[in-house]
Symmetry: C2
Subunit: 442 residues, 2 copies
C-alpha cells in the first residue's frame, strides 16, 4: 500500500525523515504519537487546545469534586520527552490530499507523508443545535466549568428566594440521555445537591431538589446487561434521581425542558443523548456514515485514501463480528497504539501491517459513592467492590504520577470526610455559553 508515497516523502533528500501528522491529541492521537516517540520519524501533533483531557473524569469537574488541572495536562508536557514530536496549537481547516498537506486556520500548510485523523466526537443535538446553549454536553473543560457554575449559582439563588415555585425550579436539574455520561452526571448531581443542602445551606430542604434523568429509549445504560442496568436504576433512585424512560425531549429553553406531555422548570440542563463524529470527513470531501464516522479499512486507513488514517470516535471501524466498534476511549487508545506501531514498522522497515483487532477491557459506569458497574463480557461486577475497582482503574489511567497522587489524595480525603472539592463560581464565566459547534476530542 502506497510505497511510492514513502519514496516521495524521502525524495527531498536522502536523510529527510518521513513525516507523520496527527490531528487531535485525545486518547487516540496521544497513543499514536507515543508509539512513534523517539523514532527517526518527524511527528507533528496538531490540536486546537493546549491540553489533553481525561474525559472519563470530566463529570467530577462539572460536579465540583475535582479541579480541571487534576485531569488535564499540556500536550507539550505529555509528549515533551519525545524529541521527534512537534506540537502545534492550531485548528485544521482542510486537507489537501493530492499535495499531501494539512491547512491550518492561520493559513499555513503542514506537509505530511502519513496523516492520522483523531479528532473525536461531538454531542449530537439531532438538528436542534440551538439547544446547546442551554444543554451543554460534557466534552471540554469549558463545558464542565459552565455546568459547575450553573449548578452552584442555582443553589445560591434558591437560598435567597422566597418564592417556593422558583426555589423548586432552581433546584431542578434535567439530564437528557441515559448513557454512562447521563447516569454519572445524574448520580453526581444528586450527591452534590444532597451534600450542599444538608451541610451548607440553611434555607433549603432535601425535598426541594429534583434530579431528572430522561431517556428516549426503553432503558438506561442500554449497552450493559440487564442485571447491571437494574442495579444502576435502583442505585439512582436510592440517590434521589427520577429516571424517566421512553420519553423524548421536544424542547429545551433557558429554564424549561418539555418532554412528552411534561414540562420541567429547571436551572440546569445537561446533554448526554448521543454523539456524532467530528466533521473532519468533509476535509476529504467524503460523507461519513453512522453519525458521521469515517469508514476505515482493517489497517485503519480511510477507504480510498491509503495515506490517511482515522481512529477513535471519528472512525467507523469494524469488530471481528462485523459490527461497528463503539465510540469508547479504550478503542481509540488501542487503535492509536496499533497505528503508531504499524506506521513505524511500515515507514522504517517497509513491513506491512496486520489488521487491527480490538480487545475489550470491560465497560464501566459509576452511579455514585460505593456504586458502580462493570461489564467484562463473560462476567460482571456491581456495588462497592465495582466502585473501588472503578476508582483504582481511573487513577491508574491518569496521564502521570503527579495527577494520580493528587486525585488519590483528594478522593481518599473526600471518602473519609465526605467533603466536596472545587466548588467555585467564577462570575465572569457563569453566564457564557459554549461558543463552538465543532469540538476536537482533547
Amino acid at each position: 500500500m502506497a510505497d511510492e508515497t514513502l519514496q516521495n516523502g524521502m525524495t527531498g533528500g536522502e536523510t529527510k525523515p518521513p513525516r507523520v501528522v496527527i490531528v487531535g491529541a485525545g486518547f487516540g492521537g496521544l497513543a499514536t504519537a507515543g508509539a512513534l516517540g523517539n523514532s527517526p520519524i518527524d511527528v507533528t501533533v496538531i490540536d486546537r487546545r493546549n491540553h489533553n483531557l481525561f474525559q472519563p473524569l470530566l463529570y467530577q469537574v462539572a460536579t465540583a469534586a475535582l479541579s480541571p488541572a487534576d485531569i488535564s495536562e499540556p500536550i507539550r508536557r505529555t509528549l515533551g520527552r519525545f524529541k521527534n514530536i512537534n506540537v502545534m496549537l492550531a485548528e485544521v481547516t482542510g486537507v489537501e490530499a493530492v499535495g499531501k498537506t494539512v491547512t491550518l486556520d492561520n493559513g499555513t500548510s503542514v506537509p505530511y507523508d502519513r496523516l492520522v485523523i483523531a479528532t473525536g466526537s461531538d454531542y449530537n443535538y439531532f438538528g436542534h443545535d440551538d439547544w446547546r446553549a442551554w444543554a451543554p454536553g460534557l466534552k471540554t473543560i469549558h463545558e464542565a466549568r459552565l455546568i459547575r457554575q450553573r449548578l452552584l449559582l442555582a443553589f445560591e439563588k434558591a437560598e435567597l428566594s422566597h418564592d417556593p415555585e422558583e426555589k423548586k425550579a432552581l433546584l431542578t436539574s434535567v439530564i437528557i440521555g441515559g448513557g454512562p455520561t447521563g447516569v454519572e452526571m445524574a448520580g453526581a448531581i444528586a450527591e452534590l445537591g444532597h451534600f450542599m443542602i444538608t451541610r451548607d445551606f440553611r434555607k433549603l430542604e432535601p425535598d426541594h431538589m429534583r434530579v431528572i434523568l430522561i431517556e428516549a429509549g426503553p432503558k438506561i445504560l442500554a449497552t450493559f446487561p440487564d442485571n447491571l442496568t437494574q442495579y444502576a436504576l435502583k442505585a439512582l433512585e436510592k440517590a434521589g434521581v427520577e429516571v424517566m424512560t421512553n420519553l423524548a425531549v421536544e424542547s429545551v429553553t433557558k429554564d424549561e425542558v418539555i418532554a412528552g406531555s411534561q414540562r420541567f422548570r429547571t436551572s440546569c440542563v445537561i446533554w448526554g443523548a448521543g454523539v456524532k463524529a467530528s466533521p473532519s470527513a468533509r476535509w476529504l470531501g467524503i460523507e461519513g456514515k453512522a453519525g458521521g464516522r469515517i469508514p476505515v479499512e482493517p489497517d485503519l486507513s480511510i477507504t480510498g485514501f491509503p495515506d490517511i488514517f482515522a481512529i477513535g470516535d471519528t472512525a467507523l471501524g469494524l469488530a471481528e463480528d462485523g459490527k461497528p466498534l463503539p465510540a469508547l476511549a479504550q478503542v481509540a487508545k488501542q487503535q492509536g497504539q496499533y497505528l503508531g506501531k504499524a506506521l513505524r514498522a511500515k515507514l522504517l522497515d517497509g513491513k506491512p501491517a496486520e489488521p487491527f483487532r480490538f480487545h475489550n477491557r470491560g465497560n464501566t459506569a459509576v452511579i455514585g459513592r460505593d456504586a458502580a458497574i462493570f461489564d467484562f463480557g463473560k462476567w460482571t461486577l456491581k456495588g462497592r467492590l465495582a466502585w473501588f475497582l472503578w476508582a483504582l482503574v481511573h487513577v491508574y489511567l491518569l496521564v502521570n504520577f503527579e495527577k494520580r497522587l493528587l486525585v488519590s489524595v483528594q478522593w481518599i480525603w473526600r471518602y473519609l470526610t465526605q467533603q466536596r472539592g472545587a466548588r467555585l463560581i467564577d462570575e465572569n464565566a457563569a453566564t457564557s455559553v459554549p461558543s463552538s459547534t465543532q469540538r476536537t476530542e482533547t
Copy 2:
C-alpha cells in the same frame, strides 16, 4: 457608644438575638465572622462571590503553578460549622444608616444592629480605567485565569510564528508596579517562561523572552529595608527580569506599553501599581481619604457612624505612632478577630472595647525558587531559608487541612521535579476581559 442601638435591636422581642451583618468575606470579614461563631448573635455574611480566596498565592494560579480550587473554598463551607451564621451570595448596593438596613442588588433589605464593612480594595488605575482590559490586576480568580491564558497562549503563538519581531513581542511581559505583587509576578513569569522554553517548546530560545518590571518610584519594594530590596533586585535580575525604576507608564493598549521614551511591544501586561479602597464609602455618603479608605476610630467604628465598622483595606486605621496601617492581610485579619471579640463582649455582656492594636507579624515577598525576603522590623531574613519559611507560613495560613495537604504535595513535587502545574488554556475565556470595575475582596 450607641447603647440605644442595641436596645433598638432588641425591642422586636425580648428573645430576639442581636444582628450583625458583615459585607465581604475576605481576611477581615471571615475573621470577624469566625470570632462571632457559635454565639447567640445572628450573623449574616454577604459577598458577591461564593468563595473566599487566599490572595497571597493568587500569583501562583496566574503563573500555572496552582489550581484556583487549591487556594479558595466556598464561604459556606468555611463558615458552615457555625449555626448562627448565614451566608448570602449577593451584591450590596447601599446602606440605609438611619433605618439600619443593607440593600442588595435584588432589591431586598437586610436589617442589622451592627454593620461591618470589609469590602477590601481594588487596583487603582489612577484615572486610566480603560487600561484595565489590557493590564488586569490580581485580585480575583478570573483575573488570575485570564493572565494565565494570555501567557500560555502567547507562547503557543510564538512557537508558530516565523516573524522574529512578532515572536519577541509575544514573549514579552510587562509588569507595572514594583510592590510585592509586581515582584512576585515578574519572578514567577520569568521562571515559568524559562521552564517552558527549555522543556516544552522546540522553536523558542531563552533570549527571545523578556520580562520587564516597571516602577514609577526610585526603588522596588519601597516598604522594605534597603538590604532586602538590593537582594530582591539581584535575584530578579538573575532570573532574567529587567527592572526599570523611575519610569512612569503613559499608555497601555492591547499590545503595547509606552513608558517614558520607550515603547514595549508585549502580549501580556499585569497591573500592580497601587490599590484603592472599594467604593463602599459612598454607601454612607462620605468621602474616603488616602485612596478612598474610610477613617475609623480606635474601636474600628466609622467616624460619625457608631454602629458601622470598617476593617481591612477599606478602612484607614492608625497605628500607635499615628501612621496609617498598611493594606495587608494581617492587618485585616487582626482587625477582624479584634472586632468579632469586641462585638461579642459589647452585644452580649455590655462591655466596652479596648482600642485596636496592630501587632506586626513580619512583611514578606517572594522572588522565586529559593529566593524570598522577610522583614520582621528588628531583624530580616533573605534567600533560601526565607523561601522555606515563606512556604511554611503560607501553607499554614491556608484555610483548612485539605488545602494545606494539596498545596504541600504539589509544592514538594514541583520542588523535586522542577515541573509545573495547571497550564490550561480554556479557549472561551482567553479572549475575555475583566468585566467589573468594582471588586470585593474575596
